[in-house]
């Protein structure tokens, strides 16, 4: 069985800790890579563009160096793309609408994400 890889892009380390622990309880075999700076995430994805993309990218919106939207603008131009789920603390209706309209975004989830929700995400969207 191929190893599942999920990338988490979020400036909040607590979020990483939470997501990591939740996923570990659901499926201990999933490998989670954490990027606190979206720029680093993009460099990483670019360098592995041809060989292998992660199963899923969990993306935050509000980050100091680069917003999730800016990340998406650049990532949309990649030839080989992963599925993207936005997990943000935002409760802004505008963000939600924009996410639903974006062609590369599968779903918009508001933080915090619990077991049920994460279970659904992993079930439907991972490869």
């Amino acid at each position: 069985m191929e190893e599942k890889e999920i990338i988490l892009v979020d400036d909040d380390e607590l979020q990483f800790m939470l997501v990591k622990n939740v996923i570990k309880k659901i499926d201990p075999l999933v490998k989670i890579t954490f990027f606190s700076n979206p720029e680093n995430a993009l460099t990483h994805l670019k360098s592995n563009e041809i060989q292998k993309q992660p199963c899923l990218i969990l993306l935050d919106l509000n980050m100091p160096e680069m917003t999730g939207w800016e990340f998406l603008d650049i990532y949309s131009n990649f030839s080989n793309k992963s599925k993207i789920v936005i997990i943000s603390s935002s409760i802004d209706a505008g963000d939600m609408q924009k996410a639903n309209k974006h062609p590369d975004v599968l779903e918009f989830c508001s933080k915090p994400v619990f077991f049920d929700k994460m279970n659904d995400i992993l079930k439907y969207y991972t490869c």
């Binding site: 939470l18 508001s110 933080k111």
Partner: protein, 465 residues
């Protein structure tokens, strides 16, 4: 004005009018015209009978056409069609003078009567009736032209010069001149008397026009001022709206994020079996989240207090003092680092402004310069105040890491944005600097180059002292 309207009325209903429709002045004018017509006709009859006795039948025949025309005009006036009568009167009078002048020759001085034409025409019409006056003047000019073209009876046979010998012609010439002077004076007086109201009205109109123009100009000036005020208010409102927007963003993202963390941690602790080690980790996470929440609330308080601080304006703030107080309070930041501050407050040592704003702006810019200094290089910070176009400027220049302006130009002054992730920072400093500068009536701009340095130029508003 009433007269004028009545006259106009009469022009429109030319056929339907009756005598009562005429104004008083028009009645006087009609009576006068009647008299002139009858006198002229009488003179015409006398003159033609003289010509008949002199056996100049052809001239007498031409002459008799004059009294006939005058009788017809008098009749027309009597019938109330004064407008037609006026035009006929102008034609007849001018041609009459022309005819008599031609008969009598230059020696008699009769030809000089033609000079009365303009005053005669003006006596017939109200001065407000420009069209009719111009038309009549054209008739007059036409007869005048005829007289100049045929000065000496080339059109009509000449009166036998034996009738008028030299002496009588001289006496006649003198009498005619005296008559012309008297007549023209009387006519002019008559014209002025009839048109007094009209002239007064014109003067009044001019005066009220001037007054109107003046009040209009005043109004324009006032509108300009209020528009300027409105525009200023509008831009202030726009800034306030932007701040509210930022604030709502902060509530939605930054305030909610640690709360979401807490909720997540508590749920995990509650719903799953956890090892001791995991529990410890979660407990620590709760502490971190609480600390973050506290920080966000402190930030929000700082942003909100900007509004409050604005009320304590008009204090005199000395830049040197503010710098010194920052150096003392940030002693720990400076310690053990190779930092050199070059301050030049000579041009503008003091400013009338909000103390806390100046302090905060200077503090944020200096700590920023230190945070993002180049490692292993002496950090030089140049601070200067100066004036330009009535505004006070504060510039803070460093030789640090710099910011890529092409990439980040539109988000440098936005809240919670950062451009270097290696140092701790909340990304609020430059947002506060901009907000405070804008509330002082100024703004902030940046010049920066990667690896060379950054220069912030803060406009602190208009110079007051």
């Amino acid at each position: 004005m009433n007269n004028y309207i009545k006259n106009l009325n009469f022009l429109i209903n030319l056929d339907k009018f009756n005598n009562s429709q005429f104004s008083n002045i028009e009645h006087i004018r009609m009576k006068m015209t009647m008299r002139v017509c009858l006198i002229s006709a009488l003179f015409g009859i006398i003159f033609s009978s003289v010509l008949i006795t002199l056996t100049l039948y052809r001239e007498a025949l031409i002459c008799i056409s004059q009294p006939i025309s005058y009788f017809i005009i008098a009749w027309i006036v009597y019938k109330g069609k004064f407008e037609i009568a006026k035009i006929l009167h102008t034609i007849t009078a001018n041609f009459g003078i022309f005819t008599f002048a031609s008969f009598c020759g230059i020696d008699s001085g009769v030809h000089l009567y033609i000079l009365l034409g303009p005053t005669f025409i003006l006596s017939l019409y109200d001065l407000s009736r420009k069209k009719e006056i111009i038309f009549s003047i054209l008739i007059y000019l036409f007869t005048f032209f005829l007289y100049i073209k045929f000065p000496n009876n080339s059109l009509f046979p000449k009166v036998d010069s034996s009738i008028l010998n030299k002496d009588t012609s001289f006496i006649l010439y003198s009498i005619n001149i005296v008559f012309i002077v008297i007549l023209s004076t009387l006519l002019m007086n008559y014209v002025l008397r009839l048109n007094t109201n009209f002239i007064i009205e014109i003067l009044k109109k001019n005066k009220s026009l001037n007054e109107k123009e003046k009040s209009l100009q005043d109004e324009i000036e006032q509108r300009k001022i209020s528009e300027k005020r409105l525009r200023k208010l509008f831009s202030e409102l726009q800034l306030a709206y932007e701040r509210v927007n930022h604030f709502s963003q902060m509530v939605s993202h930054n305030l909610r994020s640690p709360i979401a963390n807490l909720k997540g941690i508590v749920t995990i602790l509650n719903e799953t079996e956890n090892t001791e080690e995991e529990k410890k980790e979660y407990l620590n996470a709760i502490f971190v989240a609480a600390h973050k929440l506290d920080n966000v609330i402190i930030d929000m308080n700082e942003i909100l207090s900007i509004q409050k601080d604005l009320t304590e304006k008009n204090k005199i703030v000395a830049f040197e003092d503010e710098l010194n107080s920052i150096l003392i309070s940030e002693k720990n930041t400076f310690e053990g680092k190779n930092i050199k501050i070059l301050a030049d407050f000579e041009e503008i040592p003091k400013i009338q402004s909000v103390n806390s704003f100046i302090h905060s702006i200077l503090h944020n810019l200096i700590t920023n310069a230190i945070k993002y200094r180049k490692p292993n290089t002496e950090c030089i910070i140049k601070i200067k105040t100066y004036t330009k176009d009535e505004f006070v400027f504060l510039s803070v220049e460093d030789n640090g890491l710099g910011i890529d302006l092409n990439k980040n130009n539109n988000k440098i002054f936005k809240p919670y944005k950062r451009f270097h992730s290696h140092v701790e920072g909340r990304g609020l400093g430059l947002y506060l600097v901009q907000t405070q500068a804008q509330m002082l009536g100024g703004d902030v701009s940046i010049e920066s180059e990667l690896n060379i340095g950054t220069k912030f130029i803060v406009n602190l508003g208009k110079k007051d002292i």
